[in-house]
């Protein structure tokens, strides 16, 4: 089954063609937690590879790399979205399918920009941070 509908794929190809810098998808594979009942017989690791490789095929500046249990990844599968190959602390833990595929596409588009797209006052506030912030956002695919 294709990852995106034809009209969606056209849009994503256009967005990825406009990336100002390369974006690497580092797919981290390893032991997986047993998901909630109802998740079916999904092979989350294999599907993560399929999704990320399919995304990388939609833009010349998007690449995909696989690693087994890389350091700094507490959960598997996961994908780190890396502007110009740099770990910017942007990660998706779990398989991004359904509505959440859009979050990864959006992250790639954002990581491909050379300048932040937040409002200037937001950027200033973040630049003045004197401590580290770890934001975890729990999501579901529907």
């Amino acid at each position: 089954m294709p990852l995106l509908r034809p009209e969606e794929e056209t849009k994503v190809r256009k967005w990825f063609a406009e990336l100002e810098q390369p974006v690497e998808l580092l797919v981290a594979l390893g032991p997986e937690e047993t998901p909630r009942a109802g998740s079916g017989d999904v092979d989350f690791g294999a599907d993560m590879i399929r999704v990320c490789e399919a995304l990388a095929e939609l833009g010349e500046r998007v690449t995909c790399r696989l690693e087994e249990e890389p350091e700094g990844f507490p959960r598997f599968p996961a994908v780190s979205i890396r502007p110009d190959g740099r770990d910017a602390g942007v990660r998706y833990d779990g398989l991004p399918w359904g509505y959440e595929l859009g979050s990864v596409v959006g992250a790639i588009v954002e990581a491909g920009r050379e300048e932040p797209t937040l409002r200037p006052d937001s950027v200033t506030a973040l630049e003045e941070l004197d401590r580290d912030l770890v934001l975890d956002v729990f999501v579901t695919p529907t």
Partner: protein, 63 residues
């Protein structure tokens, strides 16, 4: 979700992770995830639901 990613991309002091709640039920249970998006800052559950950028920043910076 994208707002958290934008914050991480704008600052080296911020990391942002989306966590698929159904795939990690143990962690979701520990953090009392019953609604999404649930925003957790430095390990502490803060709020549920999407908010505009200015409010998101205000809440995150106040954490």
């Amino acid at each position: 979700m994208l707002l958290a990613f934008r914050c991480a991309l704008a600052s080296e002091r911020v990391a942002a992770t989306a966590i698929e709640a159904n795939e990690f039920p143990q962690l979701s249970q520990e953090l009392g995830v019953f609604a999404v998006p649930r925003i957790v800052v430095n390990g502490e559950p803060r709020w549920d639901g999407a908010v505009p950028e200015s409010e998101f920043l205000r809440r995150v910076l106040a954490a």
